[in-house]
């Protein structure tokens, strides 16, 4: 997010917060969120793709809503208006083609209006058709779930992304052999996909509250959280959407404070630390163990301030409009165990994976007639959860290894705690000893996490191994 985008978002959020009528405010937030999807999408080398990807985001949202709504619910006027608004804005963005390049909302020229109209009408017809059939056919929920996971895998695997980019290039008459994975950067997809998947799973469990189409669009595309989360839960988000907003003066104070904090963390601390933090280039230049530890620590703080700064900005913008987005960080580097670290780092993603992967798996294994042994459930569960969290960042070896590094750490952490539980009662120890042990555990946890960042920061595992060796005084 650039400072200009942030300034525009802040202006929009302030306007929404000041909007006198709740109804108008909701439409305004929806419109800004839809337009932001187009405005944030980076340019693509494939012609007009930077228009089609955001349009596909809108279509996926509409499909998500259509298949997750209760079969008995009638379509309301509000739903129709929301559909018209989203479709109308998509067409409006395309129509800017005829106004002139300086008015494009997309980074490059949008497609011709008639082409956009065909796509919008097709998506609307499909969505409408599905609302007729939803509920009759549970397979559709699974169908969309598989489609989204499939897209996820394609977008996160360079070789597949490149293949699809080549295919798209041949459709636009561009040279397929020049295709690059970067041609297909679908901004916001990871977060959007996880929100839609959450609504699908909640619907399958019978726990999804009734969303209007406008509310569904706003939940999935909410502009403060579109780029980097947090991943709100459907039920919680809807509660805020329906609640009477807090007095604007309060929202302004609270939101303004979070925005200022986010700005400082992201644009001052993180961007300054980035100048010297571990990366592919300086990993090759640094040889001494001490210096390597230093740039690794700088990386640990850079990534924390960068991501938690973004979250502060999202929470601050949401607060200005009366939304209380969930927290994503809670002093993660001050936790005395890896388990507690993962309760306070990227909280909403970890919680999502626990809710929809770890918990169902553990429950199934523990509810069996012959329950699986606890240690095995924990081991397999952690490998699954942390492996997925790693791959969520990209389907590459380095992210997988990073995930497994944490899975191993969490497993050892859990076994260690279990072992000492019956043999050691910390609460009966003197205070100085308890404090000392907590400080020691916090230090050890931070360093385990920092060493994990070596895998995360460098795309080549071979280079990560060299850095790890160097950290311990071995130069290879």
């Amino acid at each position: 997010m650039t400072l200009t985008t942030l300034a525009l978002f802040t202006a929009a959020a302030l306007l929404a917060g000041l909007w006198p009528a709740a109804r108008g405010r909701r439409w305004f937030i929806l419109a800004v969120s839809v337009l932001a999807v187009y405005a944030l999408q980076p340019a693509s080398a494939v012609r007009e793709l930077d228009y089609w990807l955001p349009t596909a985001s809108l279509a996926l949202c509409a499909l998500g809503w259509a298949v997750t709504r209760p079969a008995s619910a009638a379509l309301t006027r509000e739903d129709g208006l929301a559909g018209l608004l989203a479709g109308g804005l998509a067409l409006g963005v395309s129509a800017l083609r005829y106004v002139g390049p300086s008015f494009y909302l997309t980074p490059t020229q949008p497609p011709a209006l008639e082409l956009a109209a065909v796509a919008v009408l097709a998506a609307a017809a499909l969505g409408f058709g599905l609302t007729r059939a939803a509920g009759i056919n549970k397979a559709m929920l699974w169908g969309l779930l598989v489609l989204i996971l499939g897209l996820f895998i394609v977008l996160k695997t360079d070789i597949l992304t490149q293949g699809v980019a080549a295919l798209l290039r041949s459709l636009t008459g561009q040279a397929p052999n020049l295709a690059r994975a970067a041609d297909l950067r679908w901004l916001g997809f990871s977060y959007m996909a996880f929100r839609i998947l959450a609504t699908i799973r909640e619907r399958q469990n019978g726990r999804l509250p009734a969303f209007s189409l406008g509310e569904y669009f706003t939940y999935v595309l909410f502009f403060p959280a579109f780029l980097s989360g947090p991943i709100d839960r459907p039920e919680r988000f809807l509660k805020d959407a329906h609640a009477a907003p807090a007095p604007f003066a309060d929202s302004l104070m609270e939101g303004g404070r979070r925005l200022a904090l986010g700005l400082f963390k992201k644009f001052v601390l993180a961007d300054t630390l980035a100048l010297a933090a571990l990366n592919e280039t300086n990993a090759l230049q640094v040889n001494g163990a001490g210096w390597m530890w230093l740039i690794l620590y700088l990386y640990a703080f850079r990534i924390y301030f960068d991501f938690s700064g973004y979250t502060d900005l999202a929470i601050g913008l949401g607060r200005l409009m009366g939304f209380k987005l969930p927290e994503n960080f809670n002093n993660p580097y001050l936790k005395p165990s890896l388990t507690l670290f993962w309760n306070s780092w990227h909280i909403t993603l970890a919680q999502w994976i626990r809710s929809y992967v770890f918990n169902p798996f553990s429950r199934a294994m523990r509810s069996r007639e012959k329950p699986m042994a606890a240690w095995l459930v924990i081991l397999l569960g952690q490998i699954m959860v942390m492996g997925l969290i790693g791959l969520w960042h990209g389907i590459t070896w380095n992210f997988l290894i990073w995930g497994l590094w944490h899975a191993l750490g969490l497993f050892i952490n859990s076994r260690w705690t279990e072992f000492w539980r019956e043999r050691w009662d910390e609460s009966s120890q003197p205070a100085w000893l308890q404090k000392g042990l907590t400080a020691l555990s916090t230090f050890a946890t931070f360093n385990y996490v920092a060493l994990g960042w070596v895998w995360f920061a460098l795309p080549e595992p071979g280079q990560s191994l060299r850095v790890l060796a160097c950290l311990f005084g071995v130069n290879v």
């Binding site: 165990s337 388990t339 509810s367 539980r421």
Partner: protein, 82 residues
């Protein structure tokens, strides 16, 4: 009813999860956000509640947002057992 429920839950947690039968868990002490119960034992607790009280706590509800203390958990069980 709630007091009994709290007693049963506290006993289960201290004996089966924490393995410290003498450990007293205050009804209003945070059990999830404090890290007292990790994600695995939380699922085990949900399985126990389902067997004991015939009340289902869904996978996506096993968070400190839904309940964080024994009092809140007992309330939830009470609400759902009607």
């Amino acid at each position: 009813m709630s007091d009994d429920t709290i007693q049963i839950l506290a006993k289960h947690i201290s004996e089966k999860i924490l393995k410290k039968p003498n450990r007293v868990i205050a009804p209003d002490a945070a059990i999830i956000s404090s890290g007292l119960i990790d994600s695995f034992h939380l699922v085990d607790l949900a399985v126990f509640i389902e067997e004991k009280f015939n009340v289902r706590i869904d996978d996506s509800e096993l968070t400190a947002d839904t309940f964080d203390t024994l009092t809140q958990l007992a309330e939830l069980i009470k609400e759902r057992s009607h």
